[in-house]
Symmetry: C2
Subunit: 364 residues, 2 copies
Amino acid sequence: MAICFHFQSPLKPITFHPSTTKGVPIFRCKASLPTITTTTEPEPLFTSVKSFAPATVANLGPGFDFLGAAVDGLGDFVSLSIDSSVRPGHVSISEISGSSKLSSNPLFNCAGIAAIATMKMLNIRSFGLSLKLEKGLPLGSGLGSSAASAAAAAVAVNELFGAKLGVDQLVLAGLESEAKVSGYHADNIAPAVMGGFVLIKSYEPLELKPLIFPKSQELFFILVSPEFEAPTKKMRAALPAEVGMPHHVWNCSQAGALVASVLEGDVVGLGKALSSDKIVEPKRAPLIPGMEGVKKAAIKAGAFGCTISGAGPTAVAVIDDEEKGKEIGQRMVEAFLEVGNLRSVAMVKRLDRIGARLIDSVPR
Amino acid sequence: MAICFHFQSPLKPITFHPSTTKGVPIFRCKASLPTITTTTEPEPLFTSVKSFAPATVANLGPGFDFLGAAVDGLGDFVSLSIDSSVRPGHVSISEISGSSKLSSNPLFNCAGIAAIATMKMLNIRSFGLSLKLEKGLPLGSGLGSSAASAAAAAVAVNELFGAKLGVDQLVLAGLESEAKVSGYHADNIAPAVMGGFVLIKSYEPLELKPLIFPKSQELFFILVSPEFEAPTKKMRAALPAEVGMPHHVWNCSQAGALVASVLEGDVVGLGKALSSDKIVEPKRAPLIPGMEGVKKAAIKAGAFGCTISGAGPTAVAVIDDEEKGKEIGQRMVEAFLEVGNLRSVAMVKRLDRIGARLIDSVPR
């Protein structure tokens, strides 16, 4: 599938200011703006940088394939440095920690693909880069592991060369990676780059709508990951090709309610909408042992809603109180064991409102 | 289909204060609250009342069957008086103006059915009522004609007896009428009663979510009604029974974008989302001569978006400026004639933010 890069006539670059602190306004980006590539090669501002990109929860029930949210304090790190031993215009992956399954060939590694795509956008021809990836996320957990790597890499390259690209372009660079790894879907990569909730309005051209959850409200995701593999391809194959009109109308209305709940900071409404999917979750949940029991346990324990995170197998529930979230997580872990005979781990994490960011840098 | 009245144990009634002036906060109602009927028969506060209920635009493109909005300055009037010549507990329709096609048998008239349903909810046994209906809306135009009559009647009865019922119950009374006339759909009756945009979250129980369009923003509907009959049944029959997954995801995402645009007061985004339906409009538009050309003409003239209002044949476009709206309306009228060989009339109307209300009363 073609990547919709729009290398149009050069315009004034959209500067992407790194968000290194909390409280930075969430970006309002329209990726339908002409995507810009620099005509002249930018100079690096740093000899090395380190970036972080958060985990993401995609789908969110009726938000299937167009809505995702970023999760605070959980994600991947990319360290990137100018390396004269690397062929100019190329990336070399020097180290991967936190996972033994990933290729160090940058053409087959999420971080590598996104780094190369970002370098191409920036027109980097004179510098070779060395990349170190620290996986803070398990692979195939339904928490946007590939998107976190890609987002961290795209941001690292962009920051190293003076942040010439806007978030829309960083999402496009990440999408190139996602397309090769898990499909052309932006519902992980967009919130991984931008933070918060992001609605994917369209792909051709790419249009992204940040949905700003009010700062005055607290939102916690309870993420319970079982020891179980739920390959995205298998979970995609479980989807129905056609949807009956009543279910279509139902899910559309719940998607609308979900969006309204996010914008209004209504965690109860958000949970209820999250739980209401009649199309995707009913097909996928039976493929994850214990998932239906876990959802029931979460709701019984006080969660406002629960569904499958991404394509699974992680279960995601929502609540507005961290302590209560821990209790609910415990009940969900018990249910995975009792009903699904699966061991699992629970985490309670805030909504990440920032997205991928620079966390360290060494000036030239 | 059963009406989901929930006559549970009596609780403190939700008082529905009439909104007779602009600027009244829009009601936040949860129809999932227990529906309340009075145990004792209330005394009438007035000898007669007059009410108004606005026209409504349902569907709004990807909001098919769950989203509607009320239109200012266009609607139906109901005058209601205590009449000792009418059998206690009953309604007699004494006059219908503005239409020659409606039955004066209250059991077959939208206003009559809603009035009787409201009287039952209020437990009215000792008073007979005489009802006069003034149709300000053409029938079968896709502007919620039946809902306007029902909403006006329900509000009139409620106000006459001291406004004991909440908006949720008035919507349920109106739904009884809608179910008999055009189907069990609340996307006209809910905004007709409540004003503004209303999202129908569920029917069992009925849950309504008002979507508050910011007061600081202007929104105009350009309504162009051709001389053409588009029976709701025929338009329903045109709908596909099944929806392909890609179109389902697309329409869901646009529904989400539509809801976000309403809440953010983004008329451009609202128009774009309104125009984006890939499921219903493509099936129905060809049944209304010229509709596709009218949509193109509206967009070309500067409208932010255009679709079919309700089940048609009225075309609805949106804009943020009244004068511009009139120009667009003229282009749409021309297109209906040129492309569809249909004469039509254009109106430019503001969003109604109030809904059905008392406009006159004579105290006892």
